[in-house]
Symmetry: C2
Subunit: 295 residues, 2 copies
């Protein structure tokens, strides 16, 4: 049980941190649930992640799953473990502050000792409608919309791990790796715009696109993927941890414009189409390998 | 994301394991949330826990928190990590089967590699009424009801760790340590019988009683604690992991009789009273040390 923190509670929270369980008010719409963990040496190194980064990122990757459903996050539970001499309270502060930033309430959790640092987060959310963005709902003829260019996180990881130190002023690529942005607004905007299929890019553009294609029993033909300066094509395709969204909808061009407006950027674009033939999964006519940043 | 398991889903689950999140039907009553973790070398050793035990116990200790609120468990999320050569799928099977046993649906989670095994569980539950059993609600004059004798788990841990092997037929004490029973029925029965204060014994009878007294700003006078053959007084008081419940109510004698009927046992009893003076926390007139099985 987490005793250290008694976050300011919203009026929907009757019992927060400090009892055996939290008690929160009934959720009138459908409930959306996810859980994801970060493990030291697998997902991060303490040489180039500070404790706050670890807490931040553990929350962000979970909120990205909520974004990929077009849902809204409400409550968060965390369990964390680490060595005695590591400041777990600073990880918890990262979890706490990041939750607040995204309007989510930390309602409970547990802390333990362990050799490696682990952070496990569960999120309880809801959806405003009776539909979600599903991996399994892409259909032939859909355009494939990518919310923004990929590979930044992989490029950031490269410089972080090479220098093996947490810079006090990380580069934009390094920030993309340390503090990824969960695209909650984009997910909900896509859903309300009519999209019914989507996935977030956690392991790589290629791998997560294949996953959605597998779940939907479809193929895809990508024309090209956006490349930004400083990022290799390899990183953009197979780098992972960008947390951009892949969305599937008939009129992807309109959705991309709409998302750019919502996100205040000019980066969403159609990168290809969904096809009937599951065997055909190509980029520029060549079969796209199913590989990515598998931890 | 957990891909290996596609549990049979209840009709309240629209999206289960396999997408970015699970989607479940709205919960009309208040929602009860908790999260708790088990870590190798801290909470168990693989020499005397088999993988199924680990999964079982991780679920059971969380359900005990739900029991201690008088609530009902519905959904479960898990994240687990461990070394490549350890059968994590058997832990997952333990989680899965134990969830089914207690009528809870596993709806999502995550698996990662790590050096030490960790299992983190979150439970989403609900309550049938608008009240809960709170740690903070004990008041002077309440009788203190203990659902059953403590120390079995500590006695079982002693023989397990001495023999350092998982017996194919554990003794009852060893079973109490490996496969504790979450007292869900007792918690709900106590709540509907009128109890408003309660806590489960995870770290020790003494420590958890002190915790409830701290949260309620009260003291206590224990007359005696039940001792069963094969268990030392030290184990009964400070042993921990029994997952019996401590309940606080004016007429504890009647509640104890009622709980014995619900639990089909003859073990619930009044062990003392709650007092106004926070300084007085005694067993048989002697101050009770605030110590327990802290991991």
């Amino acid at each position: 049980m987490i005793r250290e923190f008694s976050p300011k509670l919203s009026q929907d929270v009757e019992v927060g941190v400090g009892d055996d369980c939290a008690v929160v008010r009934s959720i009138n719409n459908d409930i959306v649930l996810c859980a994801d963990m970060l493990v030291e040496h697998v997902h991060f190194e303490t040489s180039y992640f500070d404790p706050f980064d670890i807490g931040y990122k553990a929350v962000a990757v979970n909120l990205s799953d909520i974004a990929a459903m077009g849902a809204r996050a409400i409550y968060l539970l965390c369990t964390l473990s680490g060595p005695k001499d590591y400041p777990l309270d600073e990880i918890l502060q990262g979890i706490q502050d990041t939750s607040k930033l995204y309007n989510v309430t930390l309602v409970g959790g547990d802390i333990s000792r362990s050799t490696e640092i682990t952070v496990s987060i569960s999120v309880v959310g809801t959806r405003d409608t009776s539909v979600s963005l599903l991996r399994s709902a892409a259909s032939a003829g859909d355009q494939i919309v990518l919310t923004g260019p990929t590979g930044r996180s992989a490029a950031g990881l490269r410089s972080l791990s090479q220098n093996n130190v947490r810079p006090s002023h990380p580069t934009p690529f390094e920030l993309a790796h340390l503090r990824p942005l969960p695209l909650l607004d984009a997910g909900r905007a896509a859903l309300s715009y009519g999209a019914r299929a989507g996935i977030d890019i956690s392991d790589s553009l290629a791998l997560d696109l294949h996953r959605a294609a597998d779940a939907s029993n479809v193929g895809f033909e990508l024309s090209d993927v956006p490349l930004i300066e400083g990022v290799t094509k390899e990183q953009a395709l197979y780098g992972g941890e960008d947390y951009e969204l892949l969305l599937f909808i008939k009129d992807g061009v309109s959705l991309a414009k709409h998302l750019d407006k919502v996100l205040h950027r000019t980066s969403a674009q159609v990168i290809g189409v969904v096809t009937n033939n599951q065997e055909i999964r190509t980029l520029g006519g060549e079969q796209l390998p199913k590989k990515g940043y598998l931890h």
